[in-house]
Amino acid sequence: MSDYLIELRQVSKAFALPRGGRFHALREVSLQIGAGEVFGLIGKSGAGKSTLLRLINLLERPDQGSVTVDGRVLTALSKRQLREARQHIGMIFQQFNLLQNASVFDNVAFPLRLHATREAQVTARVLECLDLVGLADKAHSYPARLSGGQQQRVAIARALATRPAVLLCDEPTSALDPGTTRALLDTLRRINRELGVTIVIVSHELSVLGAICDRVAVIEDGVIAEQFALAETGTVRKTALGRELAYHRHERAAIWQEQVHA
């Protein structure tokens, strides 16, 4: 058994193009992510970073290769087993993807009720999760009444309801303004530190990854061009995106300084 919480081995994924031919989104990519890490995937649009994230919970099934999360080889599971395994992998999206015709409470309760949790436990857990993201007072509101930042917090509460080991974030701040983005990233970082949830985050915003990640992989043309720990500044960065991230790393240090002095 490996020490990694998430392990992708030699995964490839191609999509059929509408006018014939195939687009190779990922080519034999291997990636390991340790428990408790905040891991960033960055790349230009179409580089394959979102596909890579979606392979981790098999929203996209790889054409080849294996995906292991928390000791279970997801690519080898039956449909039913996969559904069970997905309870331990939370996910949030750029467009939040909340049920618009369900209250905030019912949205957060959704994953719990899927698996026949007793209603008393559901209520307790939903309130606990809403409290965690600072929205306990909005339980009976509907998503349309909330701001983008609040909706994304509801989505986080929903993703955490089943106490997952992993939280996958697909461009979680791309629909939010800068101020809201910073607050949301603080929430994610707190979740990582306090609950020990491993976070994998895809973003095209360097500042987002620079602010929150321990390690980053740069995806170019369907392969991992390089990966490094953000703290490790001595090594030479091969990609332009990698070099730019060094700058944002300094910016984060500056923000932390401000917080310490404040």
């Binding site: 919970n57 929203l59 996969l82 069970e84 997905r86 999206f93 993807n97 015709n101 509907y142 349309a144």
Partner: protein, 220 residues
């Protein structure tokens, strides 16, 4: 004129009852059979979780075939089948058979269309949380599409109010039958006016109720 109309009142009540019977049976069939068929039509299309090209083609073809019949032709063409099911081909119960078949096909398409409006991402999020197909239908699709489905049923019941009037031609009874027998064949204009007024009131009521319910359950 008014006196004549009053003497007709008992017959009008019977006709109204027959119309509502046909409408009720047709709508029941539409919701119970057309609803699930519409969900299935949606799920087997390209890009959905039960995507299956042969099934999509077969179901689509079946629905289109029923829908391509002008209703009066369907009514006549189904007479042998109607006799088999209802024991007779005359009367409102018999007319409910072709009416139901047309309603099932019509509603299935309306449901399919309505479900296409549910954002893909919301369905995907449910998959990511480990929802089964059945749970996605019951807890995502039917919840998010609820207002649209109510409006679809409203459109359907208004269409079928006029279809049920057509059924009068082959002895189906109902308000349409009354209009044709008295208003048209006997040139009794007052009967024609009254029947049209009743139909108008029914349509307005159904639309008003449908719009109102849809607005109340829409939280978007």
């Amino acid at each position: 004129m008014l006196d004549h109309a009053i003497t007709l009142l008992p017959e009008l009540w019977v006709a109204l009852g027959q119309t509502l019977t046909m409408l009720g049976i047709g709508m029941l069939a539409a919701v119970l059979l057309g609803g699930p068929l519409g969900v299935l039509l949606f799920l087997v299309t390209e890009g959905q979780s039960l995507h299956n090209r042969p099934a999509a083609l077969l179901l689509g073809w079946l629905v289109n075939t029923v829908r391509s019949f002008p209703f009066i032709i369907l009514l006549v063409a189904l007479v042998p089948f109607t006799r088999l099911v209802a024991g007779t081909s005359i009367g409102p119960l018999a007319a409910s058979v072709p009416l139901s078949i047309a309603a099932v096909a019509y509603f299935a398409r309306l449901v399919e269309q309505t479900l296409k409006e549910v954002p893909r991402g919301v369905i995907e999020a449910a998959h990511a949380m480990g929802a089964s197909e059945w749970q996605i239908v019951a807890r995502v699709l039917l919840v998010e599409a609820r207002p649209g489905l109510v409006l679809a049923a409203t459109v359907l019941s208004i269409s079928f109010l006029s279809y049920s009037a057509v059924a009068g031609v082959v002895g189906g009874g109902g308000i349409g039958d009354l209009a044709i027998r008295y208003g048209y064949y006997r040139f009794e204009t007052d009967v024609m006016v009254i029947t049209v007024a009743v139909l108008l009131a029914l349509v307005q009521t159904i639309q008003f109720a449908g719009t109102r319910i849809a607005r109340q359950i829409d939280r978007r």
